[in-house]
């Protein structure tokens, strides 16, 4: 099973959102990392078949998804960045509605809904209106609908936005369990959400894939570029202008321990540190505003 993206391009009047992207997705969890505006959502919408590419194609097991039509959608699950739901529906109503659209029988539907509500800890709110749920719960309902048909291909666009730390851990575990023999593509700009569960990562910048590999392979690229040093707290502001700071930790005696990425040591008495995916992300997006999320 493979999902092959060939030279996918989406050009709007004044902007090229996705520029000649090629990528072959195999079973496992894939992360699509990139800053806001990198083109992740546009790429995912084309893979979902709801946006027509300007050029290029997406093939599932060698057949173009446009040709597969219903057969492709039958093995496909999708959670868009903005989860649009019917405000008049309860959680159970909505999932029943989606299950019928996905072609599940009545029996399968009830069984699957019970299972997913339990897994996603939504059982208590099954008869509540979706509009009355918290943002995190609404997001979980969105994840539940994407999993209803046990899809072979699961595309989740920023699935963890709005989830609290506990929910994010639960989500990661569900996904790890689910991803066996399935293709799961998760787009995010929060590196820590995918660092430990993604088998492979694709990093996107300005509409192009700039790096692809396992976390270890990508992290290797950062060998000798991640440093750690301790400086007086009042000098932090000065050094932030010269190096890309990853984390800052307060130490005793008015000093701070700084982890940063740089071609060469930028702080006095710096030592190399073991690199992580987050370091690579910050390195590749040096010129852009980074989204700092606490690792869970």
């Amino acid at each position: 099973m493979e999902l092959a993206i060939h030279g996918l391009t989406k050009r709007y009047k004044d902007k090229t959102a996705v520029n000649n992207v090629s990528l072959t997705l195999t079973p496992g969890v894939w992360s699509l990392l990139g800053a806001n505006g990198a083109g992740k959502t546009t790429l995912m919408r084309m893979v979902a078949g709801i946006l027509t590419p300007t050029s290029g194609k997406v093939q599932y097991d060698g057949i173009e998804i446009k040709m597969l039509g219903e057969a492709y959608r039958d093995v496909f699950g999708y959670l868009p960045q903005t989860f649009g739901f019917y405000p008049e529906f309860t959680v159970a109503d909505y999932l029943q509605y989606m299950a019928s659209l996905k072609g599940l029988s009545k029996r399968e539907t009830n069984q699957k809904i019970d299972e997913l509500l339990h897994k996603l800890t939504l059982a208590d709110v099954r008869n509540k209106h979706i509009r009355k749920l918290s943002g995190g719960m609404q997001r979980r309902v969105g994840i539940a609908q994407a999993l209803l048909n046990d899809p072979d291909i699961l595309i989740l666009d920023e699935p963890t936005s709005g989830l609290d730390p506990g929910e994010r851990i639960r989500f990661r575990n569900i996904l790890s369990e689910f991803a066996q023999q399935r293709i799961v593509l998760i787009s995010t700009h929060i590196v820590s959400d995918v660092e430990y569960i993604a088998n492979r990562n694709a990093i996107m910048k300005d509409g192009q894939i700039i790096a692809v590999g396992t976390t270890d392979e990508l992290v290797k690229m950062m060998g000798g570029k991640v440093w750690q040093g301790t400086i007086p707290a009042e000098q932090l502001h000065h050094y932030e202008r010269t190096v890309r700071v990853v984390t800052v930790r307060n130490e005793e005696g008015g000093r701070v321990s700084v982890r940063y990425v740089s071609e060469s040591p930028g702080l006095p008495d710096s030592q190399t540190a073991s690199p992580r995916l987050e370091d690579l992300y910050l390195w590749l997006f040096r010129g852009e505003e980074a989204v700092k999320e606490d690792a869970i």
Partner: protein
């Protein structure tokens, strides 16, 4: 498919705006039926000789009582007797109404007024087209009403359609099917029921346009559509399901509201009165072989087609635009366009074709299937003349199918922005 339709119906029916509009539509229909009843009038003198005016159900009962003697078939004998009674009053008091004592008027003229008015319509001065004064029509001449009616119709049509002899032929051929003697029973035909039925359908069209407008466009706007169209049946089948559900729901609202209107008004005016010949309710020279009840049934049937054409057109617009307000504005504009054309148009043939062929061409404030049915309008189509009441249901039927197919196609091909 059935399960999908049931779930979609549940969804639309659960939307607050839908049931508010549905309840509003029902209330409106009931109010309009009650208005028609309240418009019934009966004048008479009380025991003290004072003129009294009855309204509503009291007026209906009084009129039914008063007009009992002329109920049934309007035979030449009955017409002759009515004119003999009129001449009796005329010879004593003259033709001016104000010279006739009120008690004489209410006792002798009011019960035969319906007959006098119909006979007067067919006796006109051929050179001017102005009705001949009643006192100039003898009881013998009046008894010749049915023959005179046919001559008057032929004369009117030949003047009105001197360049379209086939229109005259069609009308006279249809007229041959009109049964004589006419049948009369006071009730629905004497009321504004048919006009208000048309108005009721027009308001239902507007209200159901509001229900249909967001069916697709709201999903585009909220982003719900992105998820739906990624599901196995989320394209063509979902489009069909959404269209069928919207049509089913709005048709149910139409059926309930029109039934409520009809039940209330018919029950008040009397079901038997539906047997009254259409000519006695609207125009003696009308060439349509229908009773009042049959004409109203056709109004409902044509109204339903117009209603569905407008709903399907709105649903098609809904598949095209992301903003429900844009859809609503365009759809309501489309609903009102025939009315605007009938008020402000020049009356040119092409304009009338457009007005009648628009999805809502069959209902409006001054344009409707009912008005076309009771008038004498033909429109040219190349060498032939087409009677306008045929145009409305045929155009609506075509539009229902066309808009349905276009909506399915448009939704299936819709692309996320």
């Amino acid at each position: 498919m059935k399960r999908m339709i049931a779930l979609e119906l549940k969804r639309v029916a659960k939307t607050r705006s839908t049931w508010i509009l549905a309840v509003g539509a029902l209330l409106l229909s009931v109010i309009m039926a009650l208005l028609v009843i309240s418009f019934a009038r009966h004048w008479n003198l009380d025991e003290n000789g004072t003129e009294v005016r009855l309204t509503g159900r009291d007026a209906i009962q009084a009129n039914q009582e008063m007009l009992k003697p002329i109920e049934g078939e309007l035979t030449p004998e009955k017409i002759r007797a009515a004119f003999e009674a009129y001449h009796e009053v005329y010879e004593t008091y003259g033709a001016k109404m104000e010279d006739i004592p009120k008690d004489v008027y209410y006792q002798k003229i009011s019960p035969i007024n319906a007959i006098l008015n119909n006979v007067r319509e067919v006796y006109v001065d051929k050179s001017t087209g102005i009705p001949v004064p009643l006192y100039e029509i003898s009881p013998e001449e009046a008894a010749n009403f049915y023959q005179q009616r046919t001559e008057r119709l032929a004369d009117y049509l030949s003047k009105e359609y001197k360049d379209a002899p086939d229109a005259v032929e069609q009308a006279l051929a249809t007229n041959e099917k009109v049964k004589a003697p006419f049948y009369y029973l006071y009730g629905v035909g004497d009321s504004d029921t048919s006009e208000y039925l048309t108005m009721c359908i027009f308001l239902l069209v507007m209200l159901c346009t509001v229900i249909a407008a967001p069916i697709f466009s709201a999903d585009y706007q909220s982003g719900a559509d992105d998820i739906l169209r990624c599901a196995k049946h989320g394209r063509q089948r979902l489009a069909i399901v959404k269209l069928l559900s919207a049509i089913l729901l709005t048709t149910a609202i139409f059926a309930v509201c029109v039934s409520a209107f009809i039940l209330i008004s018919y029950a008040a005016f009397g079901w038997d009165s539906l047997k009254t010949t259409l000519q006695l309710a609207f125009s003696a020279i009308s060439f349509i072989p229908l009773t009042v009840g049959e004409a109203n049934t056709l109004v409902v049937f044509s109204g339903l087609l117009t209603f569905l054409a407008t709903v399907c057109f709105t649903l098609f617009l809904s598949t095209k635009f992301k903003n429900p307000i844009t859809v609503l504005g365009l759809a309501l504009g489309g609903c009102l366009l025939p009315t605007v054309l009938s008020f402000a148009g020049s009356g040119a043939n092409i304009e009338n074709w457009i007005r009648l062929c628009l999805p809502s061409g069959g209902v409006g404030l001054r344009n409707s299937f009912f008005f076309e049915l009771t008038e004498f309008n033909f429109l040219p189509l190349g060498p032939i003349s087409v009677w306008t009441p045929y145009i409305i249901p045929v155009a609506a039927g075509i539009e229902i199918v066309l808009c349905f197919i276009l909506a399915v196609h448009s939704y299936s091909r819709h692309e996320a922005s």
